[in-house]
């Protein structure tokens, strides 16, 4: 990258952003040339989103933004008034956000939404605008644009919404496109398509700034990667260099956290001690539990349907059978709408199957009455995707865990506290979290409390429904390692449900692939990943973000 070339789409020199006394971005410098894709990668709270927003003048009213240079397409944009910014946004820089459902007006057709920027910034007439909108929708690969322009954002799928949002962002052909976690909420196959679209936009000559917490995702399309940590860019370089031979400890930790292609038992989270080590210790830990032949949990021909608003039935789970062997992990993978969560609810007997049954330790489970089941309930624990929502909002961590231990809250004896501390210790939390409410904890801490609650009743089976999907990759690595440790220490049998094939590959002994309510393929993880039989499994596998050399 040459420093003086005026063709740079964006030049940032020593950018600082602070809120009140807190500096969030502490002197960041980078530039992006036309036709180049730079990815800023960091954990939540590293300041990457604030950086992106500052480039659009959207850092917020109480933010203090300063920089030595901040130039969009060669023109200074530091200290612009709101009015001047409005003239620039859309024209000089476009923005694509993570959640297209929230970013698009739910009551306006997407065609009108996309035409907005054309109406505000160009002199095109209505007919010309309509033509341009169709061109744009076609360019972002939305099938049948003429019909789609009339749709509301709620009538589109996640991937279609994200495409519409990208179409709106590139409507005025801005030299710079900023995409803040553009694929985080999407299924892997859709994610791959959106990344391909962004790559195509880059090749067409637009500079793209990609913001993400997931190194594997950005490595696919980014020319250069900048790793952000605590408000600073700690490492910048070509994707190959940063991912292949990371120099900084923070980067190494992020690289190690990517679960795909790491054998089962490999530790994903590097401890602080590894900071000085030349390379991350990736020792596969042999599974301590010998594979036994006893099934602890069996699903036999499970089916369940729901009534749609128009009265027709939607078959959410269709004749699904599998067995979970003692001490092993069964990974269930599928995209949104494949019936994974319904399966989890059936396994937890929160929902009764219409046909088939679930057996636990060979005993009837789904067919038993709730009263009989209650005696067995402690043996079957659950971990949820939305840990926060699974806690009573009025309760502190101490209350949640005391309740889970089956102890009365009124008699909070020192003995109870000792047990709570032991429990927290097992999931790697300090006793200091006890008086806090889950709302005050970070995402990773909440999930640890969720795991601690599940462990309190000493279960033998744990059903984990997307336990790491809402976590950063590095926090995800810690939680996956924790589950792995606990499984080995306690001989737990795990059902691990996820849309992320990389994660499932890392944790599972057996794998079941679900699609549209059906089990399309199942078998030993190694076999399914090495030689997938079903075309859908192959498609899923191809879409997994991994660090390709």
């Amino acid at each position: 990258m040459s420093m003086t070339e005026p063709a740079a789409a964006l030049t940032v020199r020593n950018l600082r952003v602070g809120f009140r006394a807190d500096p969030v971005v502490r002197g960041v410098s980078f530039e992006i040339a036309r036709g180049e894709c730079l990815a800023i990668v960091g954990e939540s709270g590293s300041g990457k989103s604030v950086t992106a927003r500052s480039l659009l003048g959207l850092a917020g009213a109480n933010a203090r933004v300063s920089a030595d240079r901040l130039e969009l397409a060669g023109r200074n944009v530091l200290g612009l008034t709101d009015r001047a910014w409005r003239a620039r946004r859309g024209k000089d820089v476009g923005l694509v956000l993570q959640d297209a459902l929230v970013s698009l007006d739910p009551l306006r057709p997407i065609g009108r939404e996309i035409a907005d920027s054309l109406r505000l910034h160009t002199t095109l007439g209505a007919a010309a605008r309509a033509r341009r909108v169709l061109e744009l929708l076609d360019a972002v690969g939305l099938p049948d644009p003429a019909r789609q322009v009339q749709k509301l954002s709620g009538q589109l799928s996640g991937g279609e919404r994200q495409r519409a949002l990208i179409a709106a962002a590139i409507a005025l052909d801005p030299p710079l496109l900023i995409a803040d976690e553009p694929t985080t909420a999407l299924d892997v196959t859709v994610q791959a398509q959106i990344l391909a679209l962004l790559e195509q936009i880059t090749r067409a000559g637009t500079a793209v700034l990609l913001i993400s917490h997931d190194l594997a995702v950005v490595s696919r399309i980014a020319d250069r990667v900048a790793v952000m940590h605590d408000g600073l860019l700690v490492e910048t370089g070509s994707s190959r260099q940063v991912l292949g031979s990371p120099r900084r400890e923070q980067t190494r930790r992020m690289v190690a956290a990517i679960p795909a292609d790491k054998p089962r038992g490999t530790r994903l989270s590097l401890t602080l001690r590894a900071a000085d080590a030349p390379s991350p210790p990736r020792v596969p830990i042999p599974s301590a539990v010998p594979p036994a032949s006893t099934a602890v949990l069996e699903a036999i021909g499970l089916s369940r349907s729901f009534r749609r608003p128009d009265g027709s039935r939607h078959l959410a789970v269709d004749d699904v059978s599998f067995a979970l062997q003692r001490g092993t992990t069964l990974g269930i993978v599928g995209e949104s709408g494949s019936g994974k969560t319904t399966t989890a609810r059936l396994l937890l007997a929160l929902l009764a199957p219409e046909r088939g049954e679930v057996r636990v330790f060979g005993e009837p489970w789904s067919a038993a009455s709730e009263k009989t089941r209650r005696g067995l309930r402690p043996s079957v624990g659950a971990i949820y995707q939305d840990a926060l929502g699974s806690f009573d909002p009025r309760w502190s961590v101490a209350e949640i865990l005391t309740d889970a231990l089956g102890l009365l809250q009124r008699r909070r004896a020192p003995l109870t506290t000792a047990r709570l501390v032991t429990l927290l210790d097992e999931v790697g939390l300090a006793a200091a979290v006890l008086p806090r409410r889950p709302l005050e904890l970070s995402g990773g801490q909440r999930q640890r409390v969720g795991i601690a609650r599940a462990l309190a009743a000493r279960p033998e089976i744990l059903i984990c429904d997307e336990p790491v999907s809402s976590l950063d990759v590095s926090v995800q690595a810690q939680v996956l390692d924790l589950l792995d440790d606990l499984q080995r220490e306690r001989g737990l049998s795990l059902i691990f449900i996820s849309h992320d094939l990389g994660v499932v590959q890392h944790v599972s002994d057996e794998i079941a692939v679900m699609r549209a309510g059906c089990l399309v393929e199942s078998g030993p993880a190694a076999r399914v990943f090495a030689a997938p039989q079903h075309p859908y499994s192959m498609q899923l596998l191809a879409a997994v973000p991994r660090l390709s050399a």
């Binding site: 807190d22 602080l272 402690p378 009573d392 889970a404 806090r436 970070s442």
Partner: protein, 289 residues
């Protein structure tokens, strides 16, 4: 993550979360409302402390006196001191407001919980019953009850309570249904808790906590209604020092003796504003707690 790191992150978060958005300090409006509420409670409990006179003592010679040093709020047509009467009337207003809200809320909890917990048939029945009650404007329903049982403070209280109950019942039912389907109720089921344990430990507390705020706001409304009934001559009987009744008595002389209606009206307004401001401030605090 090491313990040290966890702790660091934790204290960091605690420091951040205690800064913005969390109203710890008491605002000017809340302060004034707090002082007023204290004053009203003292006036209701020990009116003699603040107004040693007799609220019913007639003194025809000093009738219709405008506010002076001797009579801060003036006197009425029988020469009674309006300040004394207003302070002695506080207990009626507060008592009616609190009792009526308690009746409405109690009935609302029972009806709402029945509708929300006991399945479709009960839900359907209770809902139709509530709809019938809703069909009457609240005050009209209260009037109906008074027509049947005759005017008086107790009847007025019950009437106001009954006519606010459907609103509370509706809110409780809706809240209950939304809490019933939350993830933490499911989590409790997975832990093997019984229906009763879940109802008592999770569903009811989470349903009723937001209602507490609503009830504070409801007290203000109940006071207006009670005063309205008295004003119409259907609540407290005329010589009683009740604000609505005083307002009604002053109506005849509003052109010559404005103070007779102004001060009771002012106190009605102040009481309601106080209840509303306190209700909202509790609401905000609970939301951020």
């Amino acid at each position: 993550m090491s313990d040290l790191e966890v702790q660091a992150e934790l204290s960091d978060r605690a420091a951040r979360s205690s800064q913005p958005g969390r109203p710890r300090r008491i605002g000017a409006a809340e302060g004034v409302a707090g002082v007023l509420a204290l004053f009203l409670v003292v006036a209701a409990a020990w009116p003699q402390l603040l107004a040693p006179g007799d609220p019913l003592g007639i003194d025809p010679l000093s009738a219709f006196q405008p506010p002076t040093l001797a009579h801060g709020f003036g006197t009425d047509e029988s020469g009674r001191d309006i300040y004394t009467r207003i302070l002695h009337g506080t207990q009626y207003s507060l008592l009616i407001g609190a009792a009526a809200t308690a009746i409405g809320l109690g009935l609302g909890i029972v009806l709402g919980t029945l509708a929300g917990m006991l399945g479709r048939v009960v839900d359907f029945t209770v809902n139709r019953f509530l709809e019938v009650l809703f069909a009457f404007p609240g005050l009209l329903l209260a009037l109906l009850i008074i027509v049947i049982y005759g005017p008086g403070v107790v009847t007025a209280t019950i009437a106001v309570g009954l006519s606010t109950a459907p609103g509370y019942a509706r809110i409780i039912r809706a809240q209950l249904i939304s809490v019933r389907s939350t993830a933490f109720v499911e989590a409790a089921t997975v832990l093997g808790r019984t229906r009763w344990q879940i109802l008592l430990r999770h569903i009811l507390p989470n349903t009723l906590a937001p209602l507490f705020v609503l009830a504070t706001l409801g007290i203000g409304q109940a006071i207006v209604w009670a005063a309205t009934l008295s004003y119409l001559g259907l609540g407290a009987e005329p010589p009683t020092a009740e604000w609505g009744a005083m307002l009604s008595a002053g109506r005849t002389y509003i052109t010559s003796a404005w103070w007779m209606s102004f001060f009771p009206g002012l106190f009605i307004v102040l009481t309601i504003v106080t209840a509303t401001v306190l209700g909202r401030s509790i609401d905000r605090r609970m939301r951020h707690a």
